[in-house]
């Protein structure tokens, strides 16, 4: 089985669907001739040509407006917003237009489109190029939100997102672009709204996403060595949310720890916490603990960024402390 990097998986997933369906088109800044600033779209222009793979001006509102208008008239566009932080310059098109128009028109229009974007920190790019924005999207009714943690999931979830008839915000944690995973040959189509249990434990359940999946698994190994046996759930898609798997796995251990890269307030961890404490309160054996970035903008310096984003060490120590309290 071939090893694919996360970035190669992006192009592979897009190409798979562009081959299958003429209505899939792709636009964004530097995605074509340059193959993407993160080299996630190398080869697409060459294979599909400049009519289907289009470089755009620095006009994020136009990019997403174009994607929206095309989606409501028969195409299945994929749009790139280079860094997820840039959603802030085109947020209106995402939240007020794309997310709401189906509902407002009583279902007259659909928006089969994917907006993919380089998300999250770890590359020392500073506060305006390092944000995790999955909670920005999750809070808006009408958006689906996918955050894959590895190349195999990227291919299958990308395909599922492109085939989905609703708008999907597809967030690619930039620090994962170079990470390799075994990916089988042939078409791969995954299912949105399905969490994966990556490790089964008996003492506590760690629920996480994206970059934090790898760190949580490492932490779980260390914790196991210290006698704390953790389940690790990779949520993969925040909307739709696989509450069945999450509630089952939390109920089974009686303890929930969320690990997220968001600043503290109003991250998805708070949402999961509230679902759990509303729906399976009496299955809980102790506090729900969230491990997050502190509620600060992300600093640029490597030393500072490493302190800010949850590390294996912080996951281990937080869980240890809480389990032994």
């Amino acid at each position: 089985m071939a090893q694919l990097t996360f970035r190669e998986a992006i192009a592979r997933g897009i190409a798979q669907e562009m081959r299958r369906d003429e209505s899939v088109v792709f636009l964004g800044e530097d995605i074509g001739a340059a193959g993407g600033v993160f080299k996630g779209t190398v080869g697409l222009l060459e294979e599909f040509g400049p009519v289907r793979v289009r470089d755009t001006p620095i006009s994020e509102q136009a990019i997403l407006g174009a994607a929206m208008g095309a989606a409501m008239t028969g195409l299945r566009p994929i749009a790139e917003i280079m860094f997820a932080d840039f959603f802030a310059v085109c947020w209106d098109i995402v939240v007020n237009e794309i997310a709401k128009s189906r509902y407002m028109t009583n279902g007259q229009v659909s928006f089969p489109l994917v907006i993919r974007s380089g998300n999250a920190g770890g590359l020392r790019f500073g506060a305006q190029h390092s944000q995790s924005v999955e909670n920005w999207a999750m809070m808006v009714p009408g958006l689906k939100v996918v955050v894959p943690s590895n190349a195999l999931d990227v291919v299958g979830l990308m395909a599922a997102s492109i085939r989905d008839n609703d708008p999907v915000i597809f967030l690619e944690n930039k620090i994962l672009y170079s990470v390799k995973t075994d990916v089988p040959e042939g078409d791969i189509v995954d299912t949105l709204g399905t969490a994966k249990v990556l490790r089964q434990g008996s003492d506590a359940t760690i629920v996480t996403i994206g970059t934090m999946v790898g760190r949580s698994l490492s932490a779980a190994e260390e914790l196991a060595a210290a006698g704390i046996d953790c389940t690790v759930v990779d949520v993969r898609s925040l909307v739709p949310l696989d509450t069945q798997t999450i509630l089952r796995e939390v109920a089974a251990t009686g303890r929930l720890f969320t690990v997220e890269e968001n600043p503290r307030l109003c991250g998805w961890g708070g949402e999961l916490s509230s679902i759990v404490s509303e729906e399976i309160f009496f299955d809980l054996d102790g506090p729900i603990t969230r491990i997050t970035t502190p509620h600060i903008p992300l600093p640029a310096a490597d030393s500072l960024e490493d302190m800010a984003i949850p590390s294996v060490e912080r996951i281990v120590s937080t869980i240890t402390k809480s389990m032994n309290a």
Binding site: M68, G69, A70, D92, N106, G107, D164, P240
Partner: protein, 335 residues
């Protein structure tokens, strides 16, 4: 700058009569909507096109049925002009289940995809890039459809305007941007906050486009520029931007009496009311007073009927509330 000569428009008198009928329909519909607002039957807000009917009419007549309209919250006229029946539009304003969107959208979001009415958008500027997207899709699929996108003078100062114009120009998209310049934003005069005299036309060159201004109170003149721009777009020659000069007779929205405007200005523009002007022109062309009066009476009857039908509509219930967030028809965010 191109200023199209008046007394042109469609050649045959039948089409001209349809244009008259349409303008009268838009006028009477809006008047009725206003009356019903005052009766507290229209619950949210509403933005009327009273005085601006010639623009919607001239464009609708020049469009192919499968062309697309993108409008603002001031979208009743554009919706009706594409052939959407009055009853569902009025019912939508009343929040009834027989409304165009079953009450879920309201006055500011009228949409009827089957009529090419691709939506009314209530955030200034947003629909300009969206119209580009529809035009892109037509271009990609080779359907020769054209997107026509209406917006106000005040909307020319927002960022999305700029992005859309440049984007349409570089991709040579089949989209026609139409600035309905009624001189006012909500309660601020657009010229007080705009660096150029013609907020759209004086900026056309910034996108490599021709500067086009038309008398927006003359449906025939509008028809002519519309037909030309749409033909260019359909032929693959790219976008146009047209500034149509007009005036809203009433206030910005809801019960606003529009008192911030000088009386003389209002009077000047009432004298240029597109409907009496068009009426006189038809009389001059030999149409009988009786024929026009009968059109007017038919429209009144239609508006009365729509009023009754709209009022008879049901109150939307819980079934609608949780419907159609997603393409599967539902609203569930979890499994």
């Amino acid at each position: 700058m191109t200023t199209t000569a008046v007394k042109s428009g469609p050649a045959d008198i039948e089409t001209k009569l349809s244009m008259y009928r349409m303008q009268v329909e838009l006028r009477q519909f809006e008047q009725r909507a206003y009356d019903m607002f005052l009766e507290n039957l229209v619950k949210g807000t509403s933005h009327l096109s009273l005085g601006q009917e010639a623009i919607a009419t001239g464009f609708a007549m020049a469009m192919r049925p499968d062309d697309w309209t993108f409008a603002t919250y001031r979208g009743h006229a554009h919706t009706l002009s594409r052939g959407v029946p009055m009853t569902p539009v009025l019912a939508e304003l009343l929040g009834r289940s027989n409304g165009l969107m079953a009450g879920k959208g309201g006055s500011m979001h009228l949409t009827s995809v089957e009529h090419g009415m691709m939506g009314s958008y209530a955030i200034i500027g947003a629909h300009l890039p969206i119209a580009c997207g529809a035009a892109w899709s037509a271009q990609y699929r080779g359907t020769e459809q054209v997107a026509v996108c209406f917006f106000g003078d005040g909307s020319t100062n927002i960022g999305a305007f700029h992005e859309a114009l440049n984007f349409a120009a570089i991709w040579k998209l089949p989209v026609v941007f139409v600035c309905e310049n009624n001189l006012w934003m909500e309660y601020t005069r657009t010229s007080e906050v705009t660096a150029v005299t013609h907020p759209a036309a004086d900026r056309a060159s910034a996108y490599g486009l021709e500067s086009i201004i038309v008398d927006g109170n003359d449906a025939d003149a509008v028809y002519d520029v519309a037909a030309a721009a749409i033909a260019r777009a359909r032929a693959g020659e790219g976008p146009s931007m047209i500034e149509a000069e007009t005036y809203r007779h009433g206030g910005h929205s809801r019960a606003d009496p529009g008192k911030y405007r000088p009386d003389s200005e209002v009077a000047e523009w009432l004298a240029k009311d597109p409907i009496p002007r068009y009426r006189s022109r038809l009389l001059e062309a030999g149409v009988s007073e009786a024929q026009l009066a009968s059109i007017e009476a038919e429209v009144t009857a239609a508006v009365d009927l729509a009023t009754e039908e709209a009022k008879a509509g049901g109150i939307p219930g819980e079934d609608l509330l949780m419907k159609d967030v997603w393409a599967d028809g539902g609203s569930s965010w979890r499994n």
